[in-house]
């Protein structure tokens, strides 16, 4: 089964055939400890490790302008769903082993991790909604400056620019972290308007509701923290000891693998999408002997590096489209602030260019946000289903 099959898939994975074991003995490396297991399931376990590794290699081999883009994040979720499905098959095929200790404890641990991931999924859903709000503000900008489809060659007058600037400032405020919004509101009031003398904004209900609006968008309590949740997911995630591997007939390995995959995927989501208390300090201590260790660790490093870059340090989400949106809107805002009327041809060309760029970002978001939301929901459902699967049904 070629490992690039999952690209851009938005349909739910109903085809269980995908997860049936491929016969790739010819490509099997001779791995020592990561596999373990008896002759009966060694192929199965080895294949699983290989699949995971291949998928993450693909994810890691993208250029930096594609890393953490919406299509890439969607691919990441597909990868998770594939791995989870194969993991489920492995457990199914080794049912008798699964009920015995220490396997039962290991599985219970894994299930606990996945439950914590459910809250992350919900928080990400909120975050996607936030991004959607920003995208709607951009649509106002585009509508004002002729970037939307139904406007023909319209002349850009002062009115349109004012309209666009208003929306751009709203966008800038909305994209700031909550703790900075108070300052930003004051700044907005000062910078907006033809006469810059007034500093009173008490009467202006708009700003009150804007700041208020942010806190309403989280459906979790104020004390919920994505950083803490990630730490909980990664809690006690340790490479299985030799005796554990033996006692579980090698099955401790895929459990550890899935735990690591889960942690990484959730971490990457939190890195990309805005959510409450986004802390990225999670350690990934994966021994290099695992074939998937290298790509995951490399991705981790690259994403961390991105988060430390000067212009991304305070970003509310590392999603590439957020970066593009912020950059485009900032440039456009600066342009809008600097224009004199009537517009020179040169300036007009510049504006049209910036608007085009902004439209590209907006379109990309519009296209991918809803499918992403559906995928996150699908991850949620799969996790729930896999938890209840062990029980007999009436």
């Amino acid at each position: 089964m070629p490992s690039t099959e999952y690209q851009g898939i938005s349909a739910p994975l109903t085809n269980l055939g995908r997860s049936l074991l491929p016969l790739r003995r010819d490509q099997v490396h001779s791995m020592e400890s990561p596999i373990g297991g008896s002759p009966s399931n060694e192929v199965e376990l080895e294949s699983f490790q290989r699949q995971v590794a291949d998928r993450f290699h693909d994810l890691a081999s993208v250029p930096s302008d594609e890393l953490l883009s919406l299509p890439w994040v969607r691919k990441l979720l597909d990868v998770f769903l594939c791995c989870q499905e194969e993991f489920r098959v492995i457990l199914f095929n080794n049912k008798s082993q699964v009920k015995k200790p220490p396997m039962d404890r290991l599985i219970a641990d894994y299930n606990e991790r996945t439950v914590k991931a459910l809250d992350v999924c919900n928080a990400i859903r909120d975050g996607i909604e936030q991004i959607r709000q920003w995208q709607k503000l951009i649509e106002i900008v585009l509508c004002a400056l002729g970037g939307d489809s139904n406007s023909s060659q319209r002349s850009l007058g002062e009115g349109q620019f004012r309209r666009a600037r208003k929306a751009l400032i709203d966008l800038a405020i909305a994209m700031l972290d909550e703790k900075d919004s108070g300052q930003a509101v004051a700044h907005r009031n000062r910078s907006f308007g033809r006469h810059n003398n007034s500093s009173s904004h008490s009467r202006d209900p708009h700003h009150r509701s804007l700041g208020h609006f942010r806190s309403l968008s989280w459906s979790v309590s104020r004390t919920w923290s994505a950083a803490r949740q990630l730490q909980a997911i990664g809690n006690n995630l340790a490479v299985p000891r030799g005796n554990e591997v033996l006692a579980t007939n090698g099955l401790a390995m895929p459990i550890y693998t899935m735990g690591s995959v889960l942690l990484f995927v959730m971490w990457a989501l939190v890195a990309a999408i805005p959510c409450q208390d986004r802390g990225l300090q999670v350690h990934f201590n994966v021994p290099r002997q695992f074939p998937w260790a290298a790509p995951i660790l490399s991705l981790h490093e690259r994403i961390l590096e991105e988060s430390k870059k000067r212009d991304r340090k305070n970003a509310c989400g590392l999603l590439r489209e957020i970066y593009q949106m912020e950059k485009c809107s900032r440039l456009l805002g600066e342009l809008a602030d600097s224009v004199q009327f009537p517009l020179s041809e040169e300036k007009e060309k510049e504006v049209i260019q910036r608007v085009k760029e902004l439209k590209l970002v907006s379109d990309a978001m519009k296209e991918d946000l809803e499918p992403l939301e559906k995928q996150v929901r699908e991850v949620f459902h799969r996790i729930v289903r896999s938890r209840t699967e062990g029980l007999d049904s009436l």
């Binding site: 459910l118 002062e158 009115g159 804007l210 929901r377």
Partner: protein, 626 residues
């Protein structure tokens, strides 16, 4: 008041309109920023709207006449000016729109709906737990099944509020405000400022809904929070959620929808749908998140009834959810509600299955003192009585038969149920019978821990009798279990009674048998005095032992206790009387007859009354009448 239309832009109408709009530019003057047109003056507001209309008219007119290049160039300039004026007007209208909304966006008046401070519980039904499930703490291997008290669950809350049994829209703001909003929205939308309009509307109304949520007690709990909470705390949250959800869907959301429809009446359904979804999507998801968290929480038996309550409440709400969220953009909400419903059903099934397994595995080994009713029996019978209360729902949910046999392969012997003779029973009824089968199987195992075989039989008798009584006591349960199986159970405890009697009394009565007491010789009428004395001594000792021991045993059911005592008496008393009658003279003719004939018949009759009271007898020996 209509201004005369004039394609010539330089007429008074346009100029004065433009002037008015510029006067109210909030970026231009302090005064303009401080005051709100629609708050100030009705007349002022009307004038402003007319001014906006005038400007809009001139915009559409200006695009018509562009016949010469000069005219076209001039037209472009003019258009730009008009656009600028429009933008100023729209920014102003946006602020006015927001202001009107905020003035009238407080939380829903819920006082008339329900009183959150009252504890509205209906009167307890007869299914309340009879006594505490206190178990001796010697056996630390008790599983949770026994620890958890079964609370009475009210399946239908008595309302201290006007019923929210169907959709009931209320007016969220005064008609005048709605009119104003409508007027503003129309202008904004026709000028192409729809998006701003939706955004403002959504953000203000969402905060109003948030206040209503807080008033209704809807919390922002994560799945982790729900997992960590004690089940008792969750039960009250579920109760509160059910009440709140009814108000939310049927009143709050329905009224928001109506408000959207009113404000955006003139501009088509897509827009009011978009505004409605902008407003309620987040809150609706937040509302359902709690029910979702419950539906995926860990399964354990005590959760069944609240989960069924939640299931029923959601089932009841589903048609209204579909009515309120009927647009394409609200698909995800309807889908989520349906998913939660099906997960709750799954959870109910899973819990029942867990319950059956838990009964089978319940491991306590410490025998209940006195052979009385085991807490497990009480718990299970109370549980299935409650299940029969929820019969209506469960009959729909439980669709397959209990799995017997293969599930428990690996156990030495597993309980068995013959389905052939249970034809025509619903799956739910089969499960209930299976539960009783499994319970008995477990009890059999427990009975083996009694060292005394008689006590083991008594234990079985007590417990099976209790099962029978509970089944008889509930018409729904009885109807489902069926009289056939009830007969079987009755036979079982009667047989246990018989086995008990055999185990205890056969050897006692053996002392009073005739053979072995006569010396050999078919014509001799001699009686072996030594043998006779032995018999009496043995009988006395055995009886005293049995009396001492079995007085501490307990048969809780009065009638059963009486019946068994009578049954014992019927065998013991005549046998002793007859024995005494035949042989007392032989003893009394020897020395120390009191050592052998210790008890009179009356003594025995009195002694029997001590049996199965559960109290140790105060004297070491039985009372003597002397």
């Amino acid at each position: 008041m209509e201004l005369p239309e004039n394609p010539n832009k330089d007429n008074n109408g346009y100029e004065s309109a433009e002037k008015l709009i510029l006067r109210w530019d909030s970026t231009a003057s302090e005064e303009a920023r401080e005051k709100m047109i629609f708050e100030t003056d009705r007349h002022e507001a009307d004038l402003y709207l007319q001014a906006v209309d005038e400007i809009q008219r001139s915009l559409s007119n200006a695009s018509i006449s562009n016949n010469t290049n000069a005219a076209a160039a001039a037209a472009v300039d003019d258009q730009s000016k008009v656009n600028s004026t429009i933008q100023i007007a729209m920014a102003r209208l946006e602020d006015e729109f927001r202001n009107i909304l905020m003035t009238h966006s407080s939380a829903l008046e819920t006082d008339s709906l329900f009183d959150p401070s009252s504890s509205s519980f209906s009167a307890p039904s007869h299914h309340e737990l009879e006594e505490d499930d206190s178990v001796s703490n010697e056996d630390s291997s008790h599983n949770d099944l026994l620890r958890l008290p079964l609370q009475h669950c009210e399946s239908s809350d008595s309302s201290t509020y006007r019923s929210t049994s169907s959709i009931r829209e209320v007016d969220l703001m005064p008609a005048e405000a709605v009119c104003d909003l409508q007027a503003i929205a129309m202008r904004m939308i026709s000028s192409g400022y729809l998006r701003e309009c939706i955004q403002v509307y959504g953000s203000v109304r969402k905060s109003a809904i948030d206040s209503s949520f807080r008033k209704l007690g809807i919390e922002k709990l994560s799945i982790g929070d729900v997992q960590r909470l004690e089940w008792e705390a969750l039960e009250s949250k579920i109760r509160r959620w059910i009440r709140a959800a009814k108000v939310c869907i049927r009143i709050l959301f329905a009224s928001e929808k109506k408000l959207c429809e009113q404000i955006f009446e003139c501009v088509g359904t897509d827009i009011d749908d978009a505004c409605f979804m902008e407003t309620v999507k987040g809150p609706a998801i937040q509302l359902f998140n709690f029910a979702e968290a419950i539906s995926i929480s860990r399964r354990s038996p005590e959760k069944l009834f609240k989960i069924l309550d939640l299931h029923d409440a959601l089932m009841d709400l589903l048609p209204d959810i579909e009515a309120v969220f009927d647009s394409k953009s609200s698909d995800s909400i309807r889908v989520q509600a349906a998913e939660i419903l099906s997960r709750l059903a799954e959870a109910a099934r899973g819990i029942l299955s867990e319950f059956e397994g838990a009964i089978l595995r319940e491991p306590s080994r410490v025998p209940v003192p006195g052979g009385t009713i085991h807490p497990l029996t009480r718990y299970v019978m109370n549980y299935i009585s409650l299940i029969s209360d929820y019969k209506q729902t469960l009959i729909e949910l439980i669709m397959s038969r209990p799995s017997t046999g293969s599930r428990y392969s690996g156990d030495q012997s597993t309980p068995d149920m013959d389905f052939a003779e249970l034809e025509g029973k619903t799956p739910l009824a089969l499960h209930l019978i299976w539960i009783i089968v499994v319970l008995q199987f477990n009890l059999e195992g427990k009975s083996k821990h009694y060292r005394d075989a008689s006590l083991a039989h008594l234990f079985i008798m007590n417990n099976v009798h209790y099962i029978v009584q509970k089944v008889k006591g509930s018409p729904e349960l009885r109807e489902m279990i069926g009289d056939d199986y009830l007969r079987k159970l009755t036979g079982k405890f009667r047989q246990a009674a018989t086995s008990y009697q055999r185990a205890t009394w056969v050897s006692v009565l053996y002392c009073l048998r005739d053979e072995g007491l006569h010396v050999s010789g078919s014509f001799s009428s001699g009686v072996s005095k030594s043998a006779l004395r032995e018999r009496f001594k043995t009988f006395n000792a055995m009886l005293e032992e049995v009396h001492r021991t079995q007085a501490t045993w307990l048969i809780p059911d009065t009638q059963l206790r009486e019946e068994l005592r009578i049954s014992i008496s019927e065998k013991l008393i005549p046998a002793y009387r007859s024995f005494l009658g035949r042989f007392r003279s032989h003893i009394e003719s020897g020395k120390h007859p009191e050592n052998y004939i210790k008890y009179s018949v009356e003594d025995l009759e009195t002694a029997v009354l001590d049996f199965f009271e559960g109290f140790p007898v105060s004297h070491q020996h039985m009372r003597r009448s002397q």
